[in-house]
Amino acid sequence: MIGATSLVPTAEGSSVDSAEAVPLIELKHISHSFGTPSDIAARLAIALRLAKPAPRLRAIDDVSLSVRKGEVVGLVGESGCGKSTLGRVVAGILPPTSGSVLWRGRDIKTLSPSERREAKLRVQMIFQNPYASINPRRRAVDIVGEAPRVHRLINGDFDAFVDEQFRRAGLDPALKRRFPHQFSGGQRQRIGIARALAVQPEFLVCDEAVAALDVSVQAQILNLFMDLRERLNLTYLFISHDLGVVEHISDRVAIMYLGRIVEEAPAEEIFARANHPYTQALLAEVPRIETTKRSFAAIKGELPSPLAPPSGCHFHPRCPHALPRCRTEAPRLEVVAAGHRSACHLNGVCR
């Protein structure tokens, strides 16, 4: 059992509302598995031993995480680590297979349908693919204005409201009658942001929101996120594989590997004193502009498939410091410093 604490001590100088004792969003022992439920024919075949049961993909494996109001939590990992799935669980798009999601301290399963809808609107998601995340057959004005209109959030003129949302996201309102195919990638991302902001959320989950954008556009969008955070007092879960970006805007960082959180700490801590070997490997490869030509020395091994994760500590086949214990026993997240937790057996041994 992983020792989940619902209150994480904050780092110095972060802009978290310390009077807010209850975290905005809390995930308790969340797991999520993907797998198609077998139909009658398949179940019959399995019962007759003519077929094997389809493997279930354990995308998230007993994750506990809490985010306080005003915080920016960075969630970092590579393909198959489950960070996108976790983001969708937080945003209410995917219900977890087990565990509970708490909104302002209340389990969303216990909420009434209208309260649940409220909670859903308060958490919005910005997606990675600017080409697939907005409906190609609708005009920008309808994409942004639909949800507020359906939920009756607009007092006053519809067009004026949508214009305001456009401006807030850095788009010219004169473009609102365009269709998505005439916008650039960066502009489409802004439409997605305007759409999310239009329902007055408190929490934004950014799922690789800048990964598909050019560097110069990425800088613009990241600055927009930072502006919005200040002006609207937003809380963020920033999912990315790019540690450079995460380092820049996060207060706290959690590192995921194959469905589990392996390390969690304030941003400066992670970058100065990374504990887990995977974090250290990631940090070694953070893209930085070097002034001299350097050779690449990478960690060995392939990313294992989430369908067949290694036993014990998922990272042990690639870990340069693996112990025999690492193959058999999964390490638990334990406190290694103030506000800093890591799941590694090496922490119990003198290093």
């Binding site: 139909d39 798009i93 609107l121 958490v123 919005q124 409906n135």
Partner: protein, 306 residues
């Protein structure tokens, strides 16, 4: 904050406000097949719609018929001085008028059955894709069952049960055709459903029915439109077959198929025109619809566009 400005005086196309539809229309007409097929289809539809104004004679008005005019070859004159351009049938009806009115019936039956089948089938396909689980399994098993029977057999069984009549024919065709739409709609919907704009709608708590019909359906339309054009041709041909077999539309409102059937007995006697010209009209109609449908399929093919 950076704001994107647009030069003044841009056309709607440049501004991107042109609906994706208009761009497709322009692409559509770049093919010679479409350039030929669309006017042809337009003529056929025009004839069918304005039949009373276009046809020289109302072939169902018994007062206008004279049995003495029967079985006259093309080009003959009637007693009243009217020219039978395509000859007459055994009742003295002008073939040309019969064909024009027959087009009406054939097209009417073909289009309406395709339309209703599309509405019914696509809805079921979308619901199956969206609901998943047992609902999807149930619907798709019925679709599989339906599609495993030959169309003509199913139509015959239904008409044998219901009896003849135009409405019954349309109903039978709808029952035969809906499954194709359901399968296509479900396939496309399964792909579109996973796309991120659907996830966004989910997180914005958009009501289910809106997600299905306002978000999902428009993006599933292209393959359905193509199927619809093909199905219209198929329905017309199927109805012609049924009428030929005597189970289709009643004799008082003959479709092209029924006209062919009626004239069949005279083929060997040398009075080929009674069967031949309706057959040619049927052929031209089906070809025109296929030309347009082929071009539509090319234009709507997602791989041809970004």
């Amino acid at each position: 904050m950076s704001i994107d400005m647009l030069p003044p005086g841009s056309t709607a196309a440049e501004k991107g406000e042109e609906a994706p539809f208009r761009g497709l229309v322009r692409a559509f007409f770049r093919s010679p097949g479409a350039m030929f097929g669309v006017p042809l289809l337009a003529i056929i539809v025009g004839l069918a719609l304005f039949a009373p104004l276009v046809a020289p004679q109302d072939p169902y008005d018994l007062n206008q018929l004279d049995i003495m005019d029967s079985r006259l070859p093309p080009g003959s004159q009637s007693m009243t001085g009217m020219t039978f351009w395509l000859g007459t049938d055994d009742q003295g009806r002008d073939m040309l008028s019969g064909i024009i009115y027959g087009l009406r019936i054939s097209l009417g039956v073909g289009v309406s059955s395709a339309l209703f089948a599309a509405l019914f089938g696509a809805s079921l396909g979308l619901i199956a894709a969206y609901a998943g689980g047992r609902t999807e399994a149930a619907i798709m098993r019925i679709v599989d069952l339906q599609l495993s029977f030959p169309a003509i057999l199913v139509a015959l069984m239904i008409l044998a049960f219901l009896g003849k009549g135009i409405l019954n024919v349309v109903l039978a065709l709808v029952i035969v055709e809906w499954a194709t739409y359901a399968r296509a709609a479900r396939g496309t919907a399964l792909v579109e459903r996973r796309k991120e704009y659907m996830e966004a709608a989910e997180s914005l708590a958009i009501p289910r029915w809106r997600m299905l019909f306002v978000h999902l359906l428009p993006n599933c339309l292209p393959p359905l439109i193509v199927i619809a054009t093909v199905q219209v041709a198929r329905a017309i041909a199927l109805e012609a077959t049924l009428s030929f077999l005597g189970l289709g539309v009643p004799i008082t409102e003959p479709s092209l198929g029924l006209l062919v059937a009626n004239g069949y007995q005279y083929m060997l006697s040398g009075m080929t025109w009674i069967s031949f010209y309706p057959g040619v009209a049927l052929l031209i109609t089906v070809v025109a619809i296929n030309l347009v449908g082929d071009r539509l399929r090319d234009v709507l093919n997602p791989r041809g566009h970004s």
